[in-house]
């Protein structure tokens, strides 16, 4: 049966909102529910990678099998890169969720943006469609491909936007975090225009349609339901502008979720009684993700 693969980027300009946590945890939830999921860590901070792998394992893997950095470098050098080889399928959590795979990031992905821009220019399709092209070879293996994006809109992130069908904006209920929503919306439209202008200049028929914002998911929420504290004030503002996009589900502020990265077992599958509240919130987020994407 041919899979109708959905490619989704978890994005926000603002760092520290919990993009990685939610990208990993929702991926784990989907895999727990029988979906084939590929999580791609685009962030040179490598947080999603180390959420699921330990450092020694990653070091061996990136030396012998490769990482996302090698994919971009191969493209720039005009070489072939076997993306399948670089995808890690036996994670520490694989005994619980064998259907979750990971394409690890690399600390030196930081420099790729500059190299891509200097080689191909910052504008135009060539520097932005590398991931889209690479994924076309493996898409059929997965129900969902999820990008954990870095907190910027540089070329590597723009690659994920061009490759994606949908965007999930992760936000905290605070003012600076919600500025990112407007900026991402603008960025998608700009990339779409840029690529379509280029297509038109080549005299080629057809247009590029950028990804849709599929949802705005609030994370690290503290307010008590029904209250009118500052967090609820911020969430209400966003609902006024983006009413149909704001997730009904949200994830509470929690140290327990933050601790999970050390154990390499996502809270979505941990099974600990103390994690139940967050497991349940993440499950609701994953269920709503399925409805929206």
């Amino acid at each position: 049966m041919v899979k109708d693969t959905k490619v989704v980027s978890f994005i926000n300009y603002k760092g520290g909102v919990g993009k990685t946590t939610l990208a990993v945890e929702i991926s784990a939830s989907l895999a727990k529910n029988g979906k084939d999921v590929l999580l791609i860590d685009l962030d040179p901070q490598t947080n999603a990678t180390f959420y699921l792998m330990d450092e020694e394992d990653w070091n061996d893997w990136q030396k012998n099998k490769g990482s996302l950095k090698d994919l971009f470098e191969a493209f720039m050098d005009g070489k072939v890169f076997d993306i399948n080889k670089a995808i890690k399928k036996d994670l520490i959590c694989s005994k619980y969720i064998p259907k979750l795979h990971l394409l690890p990031s690399h600390l030196e992905l930081l420099f790729i943006d500059l190299e891509l821009a200097s080689k191909f220019g910052a504008k135009g399709m060539k520097s932005k469609s590398i991931l889209r092209s690479a994924l076309s070879k493996i898409k059929e293996n997965y129900d969902y491909i999820i990008f954990d994006c870095p907190p910027n809109l540089n070329l590597v992130t723009q690659n994920s936007i061009v490759a994606s069908d949908g965007i999930i904006i992760v936000a905290m209920p605070e003012y600076l975090s919600t500025i990112g929503i407007a900026l991402i919306d603008r960025a998608i439209k700009n990339i779409e225009k840029e690529i379509n202008d280029e297509i038109k200049s080549f005299g080629v028929a057809g247009t590029f349609k950028g990804p849709e914002i599929k949802g705005i998911l609030f994370n690290r929420v503290r307010y008590v339901t029904g209250g009118t504290g500052y967090q609820e004030e911020v969430m209400e503002r966003v609902r006024v502008d983006w009413s149909h996009l704001v997730f009904n589900a949200y994830v509470s502020q929690s140290d327990r979720i933050a601790q999970r990265g050390e154990g390499k077992i996502p809270i979505a599958i941990s099974g600990y009684a103390a994690d139940k509240k967050y497991e349940s919130q993440l499950r609701e987020c994953a269920e709503e993700f399925l409805r929206r994407v």
């Binding site: 919600t178 500025i179 929503i181 407007a182 900026l183 919306d185 603008r186 009118t228 504290g229 500052y230 609820e232 004030e233 209400e236 503002r237 006024v240 502008d241």
Partner: protein, 126 residues
């Protein structure tokens, strides 16, 4: 002092004590003949129905119109408007700060948001 006189005297003392106690109570006049002072009437600028209507239609008005109306409202009325729109009030009873918050949440935040969504740097072509 006769027993009768002593009893009247005691009754008198009791009445004096009662009078003193009554004087201390609110809304009791020290002079029997003095009418009770009426309670200070709080001037309501808007009826509850008008306040509710204003709150629900506020987004359809211009920022200038809303600011003018908000300046006329009492703090409790402003609080109602804020809570209607899920704007946090806090403990500080600062009327001008609450007006700023209402205007920010209803108008300024969204204007800024839309500016960023549509922003382009109009660089003239070389």
């Amino acid at each position: 002092m006769t027993q009768e006189f002593r009893t009247i005297h005691e009754i008198g003392d009791a009445l004096i004590q009662l009078g003193k106690a009554l004087k201390k109570m609110p809304n009791i006049s020290s002079d029997e003949t003095e009418p009770l002072k009426p309670k200070k009437q709080v001037k309501q600028l808007l009826t509850p129905e008008e306040l509710s209507k204003f709150a629900s239609e506020i987004r359809n008005l211009s920022r200038e119109e809303v600011e003018k109306k908000l300046l006329e409202l009492k703090f409790e009325e402003l609080k109602y408007i804020a809570k209607f729109h899920k704007i946090s009030v806090g403990k500080n009873k600062n009327k001008s700060e609450l007006i700023r918050k209402v205007l920010y949440n209803i108008f300024d935040y969204h204007a800024g948001h839309n500016l960023l969504r549509k922003f382009t740097s109009d660089t003239p072509e070389k």
